[in-house]
């Protein structure tokens, strides 16, 4: 049976892994290559790198990091942040990424998702959606690292991205990000129920039960977490054993 995936997420800026609370208040978590190697040894199913560097001067850093990780870690690598055109997708794939995550640019230019998946295949195009609840049962898409409201409904947007060729959706609850109170399960369930492509739940994991809930209650195909792994509260292996004990199929 297909295993539910556990994906540690590394937010990278200026060559370091950092972690914020609701997208601000960054805290240093270490060297990305070293952290990637550690999660690989612990049995991570994939790794996601988000380049949260604001300045384009530092763009080269993420390429060097991905190249180093890809030569040592033989599991799928997703890279996102600052992807604006098809050429950016190509450059990241050439550096060793297996999938490229597109967020703000998908909103500004939805055709980019169609062009990139048409050229490189849906399997390597992830659309990242940052969503915030506006009223119960309704969530709005935000861009630019959560700063700009778009007026787009998150569920309808996810469906549109699937139709344009996204192979997967990385769904982050801005309300929950860094809060350690669990995923927004209603958001996750609303999106996963209407899509045919896999959905990664993100934002809010504070303990291992939250991962279980993301799969069982939220219906997520994969769960993404950062701080519980970065700051040594749990290993990926512990998370998997906890999920397996609750009847979730995982790769141990």
């Amino acid at each position: 049976m297909l295993a539910k995936r556990i994906i540690p997420c590394l937010d990278v800026t200026a060559g370091r892994v950092v972690k914020g609370v609701s997208f601000v208040e960054l805290r240093d978590a270490g060297d990305p290559v070293e952290i990637a190697r550690r999660y690989n040894e612990q049995g991570a199913d994939e790794l996601t790198f988000l380049d949260i560097t604001a300045s384009s001067d530092d763009r080269g850093i993420i390429f060097r990091i991905i190249e180093q990780v890809a030569s040592q870690v033989f599991i799928p690598l997703t890279v996102g942040g600052g992807v604006r055109e098809v050429q950016d997708v190509r450059n990241l794939l050439n550096a060793g990424a297996d999938k490229v995550s597109i967020n703000t640019s998908a909103v500004l230019n939805p055709q980019l998702v169609a062009d990139a998946s048409g050229r490189y295949g849906s399997q390597c195009i992830v659309v990242a959606i940052d969503a915030k609840q506006v009223t119960p049962g309704h969530w709005e898409v935000f861009t630019h690292g959560g700063r700009n409201a778009t007026g787009l409904d998150a569920v309808a947007w996810a469906r549109k991205m699937q139709d344009l060729g996204a192979g997967e959706i990385l769904l982050t609850s801005m309300d929950r990000d860094g809060q350690k109170i669990g995923f927004d399960l209603a958001l996750t369930r609303s999106v996963t129920d209407v899509l045919d492509i896999p959905v990664i739940a993100s934002g809010g994991v504070g303990n291992l039960q939250h991962l279980v809930d993301g799969v069982k209650k939220g219906g997520a195909d994969a769960v993404l977490a950062a701080s519980i792994f970065h700051f040594g509260e749990y290993t990926v292996q512990q998370a998997k054993q906890f999920m397996a004990a609750q009847g979730i199929e995982v790769r141990l």
């Binding site: 297909l2 033989f74 050439n94 399997q123 390597c124 045919d196 896999p198 195909d221």
Partner: protein, 210 residues
């Protein structure tokens, strides 16, 4: 002489394949190439593929690589990966595309309304780590039965000849995820992204003398 030629027809990222081969065979001469002569002269050939089958077939032909691939598939250790497995068959439902026809059979798509035992929807593409149930073959040496490999695909192969089947996987029905014929071996999953088990299969390929 090149030890391994990784066939590059412009479809996707071949660095993962190259790097994984370097990891398991650090002393081998490995080249990623779109040169037919290099492929013809290489001792072993890896035939990967990503994206859509119609594009893969078109790009391969645009680079004049069909004859070199056909020759390699019939004459030396040859490893197909993902679309590189599907292209070996006669026809794919993806864009109703003709394949290379080296193996008899077709390529079909997963259904859209599949559910698992708990009633949860099964997504397409089939993406993630799934168990591979294999039969006896040198490329499975040292790999546990039902080991997990990383898959990402929406189509799968249906060979006419059941004796070609080297492994199956379940999603939720059983489907063929590895075939072999003489010097040819091909898999639906990505060994280059399948951690220990995947690297072991690549290492076995590098040592395989069919």
């Amino acid at each position: 002489m090149t030890d391994v030629a990784v066939v590059d027809y412009g479809m996707g990222n071949l660095r993962s394949v190259e790097q994984a081969l370097r990891k398991v065979a650090p002393d081998a001469d490995i080249v990623v190439t779109d040169n037919a002569d290099v492929i013809k002269n290489a001792k072993r050939v890896v035939f990967p593929g990503q994206g859509a089958m119609p594009d893969c077939m078109r790009e391969m032909d645009a680079r004049g690589l069909r004859d070199a691939v056909l020759l390699a598939a019939r004459s030396k250790p040859f490893l197909g990966i993902c679309i590189g497995l599907q292209m070996l068959f006669e026809r794919s439902a993806e864009g109703d595309t003709a394949g290379l026809g080296i193996l008899h059979g077709k390529v079909v798509r997963f259904a859209n309304n599949m559910h698992d035992a708990h009633g949860d929807k099964l997504k397409v593409p089939h993406m993630g780590w799934n168990q591979v149930h294999h039969v006896q073959h040198p490329l499975w040496a040292g790999i546990e039965q039902d080991a997990r490999f990383y898959f990402v695909h929406s189509y799968y192969v249906q060979p006419h000849d059941a004796s070609l089947v080297q492994a199956t996987c379940k999603y939720p029905q059983s489907f063929v995820c590895a075939v072999a014929k003489n010097n040819l071996f091909a898999v639906q999953f990505h060994p280059e992204k399948s951690h220990t088990a995947g690297l072991k299969l690549l290492q076995n390929f590098m040592q395989w003398n069919p």
